[in-house]
Symmetry: D2
Subunit: 275 residues, 4 copies
Amino acid sequence: MERDLGNEKLINERFRLSGRREGQEDSIVSVGKASFGGGNISNIAGPCTIEDYDQTLEIAKAVKEAGADILRGGAFKPRTSPYSFQGLGKEGIDILYSVGKEVGIPIVSELTTLKYLDIFIEKVDMIQVGSKNMSNFELLKELGKIDKPILLKRGLYATYEEWLSSAEYILYNGNPNVILCERGIRTFETYTRNTLDILAVPVMKRLTHLPIIIDPSHSGGKWWLVEAGAKAGIAAGADGLMIEVHTDPDKAICDGSQSLIPERYKKLLEELKIR
Amino acid sequence: MERDLGNEKLINERFRLSGRREGQEDSIVSVGKASFGGGNISNIAGPCTIEDYDQTLEIAKAVKEAGADILRGGAFKPRTSPYSFQGLGKEGIDILYSVGKEVGIPIVSELTTLKYLDIFIEKVDMIQVGSKNMSNFELLKELGKIDKPILLKRGLYATYEEWLSSAEYILYNGNPNVILCERGIRTFETYTRNTLDILAVPVMKRLTHLPIIIDPSHSGGKWWLVEAGAKAGIAAGADGLMIEVHTDPDKAICDGSQSLIPERYKKLLEELKIR
Amino acid sequence: MERDLGNEKLINERFRLSGRREGQEDSIVSVGKASFGGGNISNIAGPCTIEDYDQTLEIAKAVKEAGADILRGGAFKPRTSPYSFQGLGKEGIDILYSVGKEVGIPIVSELTTLKYLDIFIEKVDMIQVGSKNMSNFELLKELGKIDKPILLKRGLYATYEEWLSSAEYILYNGNPNVILCERGIRTFETYTRNTLDILAVPVMKRLTHLPIIIDPSHSGGKWWLVEAGAKAGIAAGADGLMIEVHTDPDKAICDGSQSLIPERYKKLLEELKIR
Amino acid sequence: MERDLGNEKLINERFRLSGRREGQEDSIVSVGKASFGGGNISNIAGPCTIEDYDQTLEIAKAVKEAGADILRGGAFKPRTSPYSFQGLGKEGIDILYSVGKEVGIPIVSELTTLKYLDIFIEKVDMIQVGSKNMSNFELLKELGKIDKPILLKRGLYATYEEWLSSAEYILYNGNPNVILCERGIRTFETYTRNTLDILAVPVMKRLTHLPIIIDPSHSGGKWWLVEAGAKAGIAAGADGLMIEVHTDPDKAICDGSQSLIPERYKKLLEELKIR
């Protein structure tokens, strides 16, 4: 009865490039010196949104010291309401870029429209496609025409099949450097922001050779759930973690309640032995 | 405990333009001679995807004769898989435009990227934002800068609050001509393609002054469910219907199984007395 | 790909008694003078919970005058919390029974445990299985051994296949008198109490010969949604309605916010022409 | 905006006995020599359903040798269809009891109706309430009047609040020995049998002092997902695991596809260092 997404026929039809054929090894995707897949575990950390230079610098230093390999920071924020803070935009990318250079850490940020693609190609080391744009196929097609690593978040409504099909759009257009990111799906349970679908890790590991990481911050939406989510993710076989870290969560413009302070983040990586 | 989305405070915060204030009348949105809202019910019909000129013409004549006010037809199809038919693209819009002129019926089609906005502004009478792009805020912002009617489909994962916020993006940027379209949400029930959320009609009627229509074709995903969905929609207070009609559903490239033949469509409108 | 629940093979395997075979007519289930199915539409109304004799009598008279055919009232309430009011129990059934006799209207109430089955057999005209007990197969088996009509509510998590299988349990054990009741399913949308799955009506009409009614009160959880839900239900082909009516909703012990006052209920039945 | 289920007011209202008050330590629930909570991790394993004596004995020996502390086995199976195998019933309990004595391992089995409560009290060391009966409050009330440990599975539709309220029913009626079991919830994703809600572990650890275990077999519904689910569960802080093990999964009457063979089960416990 089950539709076995991993069978050869379906791979040949729908997952020609992303599907894992029998015996096929993990793909390894590198961002600067950090690698994901094939036994390599890397860490992405930083604030939800870039607020200003000093603060980004402070956080960048802290997460690097704690063991992060890549700095994250939002500049273009796809906010539900037009009256919410929409991010610093291009200025935010400039700040992130400068801080990355100063601290010596590669950067990742979310692209929401092709209009800014050139800026991202120039300044960002990995381009994030957020959950709201996972099915924005026009965006995916263009990201397939470059060779920069793409961090493809799962849509909060997306089946495994749809998610992998979105990755296939990027690969089909020529870019093999895709990292999947499970960040929670929408269910009836609203006490947590989303429901972390931990089995997505072994499922995707079977269906595809692409690396997969976990974002425990958006999954639970509460800082005190990050640790358990991160540990579960690594235990389940994830190739990395993306965690929101802020030096002053209470004053964060966005998502402070789900951000760790650097000390906790460092301790977590130590316990996980993935520093 | 309930978050009353219709209260004045929330309207002032989040739904400044789309929220219905006490005693506020329905907005009426017109497309050619067809009107939606304020007691006006209009009908949109046509094929899922535009296949060729002759076939589009045949269907256009049939749906107009049956009572449709607006012709629909997809040219840019946001398909889950890159290997599925992606639509005829610009050629499809040209066909739809010519057929619309020949038959004398306004046309609506889905826009998936800003790249083709100019073509849509020139040739299409109403621009559809599909469910996969309901949270593509960059697209919504630009559609707010024109004055063409926008048909905003609900995302299959979207709460009422998120849906109305997407409408607010368009209104906030200057375009008041938004029609909402309920087309089914994703739930645990997979026998139907989606679950038609019929109470979305009275809920949105209370929360906003914007018109709302029902798409019973995508909701159920089966032609034999269209009639019940359409009747329920009108009974619940919808301002119109969008229904997929095809003269040869078995040979339709896309979504034939949920398309009505013109005879059934005509009979449905007669029974509903909305021809 | 679709699992066609209505095909002959599946009927022979799983829905031997409840499945509708080709050309098979509607079953008609009668409760007193009221009938459901085969073109017959009947109305069930009353308070969520029985509070006392006078108040039940007042509501019973009002709903009968408004057009209701059957009086509902909860005596054993399956409440989420042990600290919530659990219903009047046997005393509640006695009140309902006496009021029913006095007013001359059949009664329906929910049974939550076999312990009280004898009382229900003696005093109640139709036995309701609530959504929380739809998969309580031990209860269903015993209800299959009597011949009293059973009102089987859909579990808020139940697929069509599971719901119909629960009906099959009753039929298989010998009782053909089952009426299905759609009362909303649990989805990600929490603004409404549940999501009324209106397409359940045409789906179940196709899959089974059993009658199906709609409970718009529990579906939306707000009195101002009852009218639209009821109208949609009848338009979609439902064989009846179950609606919570209370003469003083603000003081109702339970579910007052989703109850209609008798005047509105009467007007609704008039507009629907199903008095 | 968030409803903080762990605040003192809500504890005093709804979770008087099950809620964890500030600084309150874990409750420890013991079954034979096995303990759950307060740092104690125990293992439950065995077949989905009891098939016959020899086969149950073979599995019991194998799981005990592998490191299991408690033997599971279904005798009363709440099956969706009345035409599916319903379990061996009382005979199944007798087999499980005899095997448990012979092998020297406590046993757990699911109770679906009060009719057999006496048998379970006499012969079973822990009574399981399955997901389909989590809201069968009449059953819960009676289980609160005994002192045998109760394994309370989460309903596949149940919020944390509803789940904990069901535990409260048992505690309120006098039985403090409740162990919670997360076994996956129903979501839109159907590739896995259910969606393992891994964050349920840290959430419930915060809200209540009761132990919580993970059932990775029912969560994913595929044997090759059990390992990742089990490891994630322990990493997230679970107090134990319940895993389906069968010596001949291909011939198992029920759920063979999600059962581990004893060798894999043993290896898993070794890797987790929880033998």
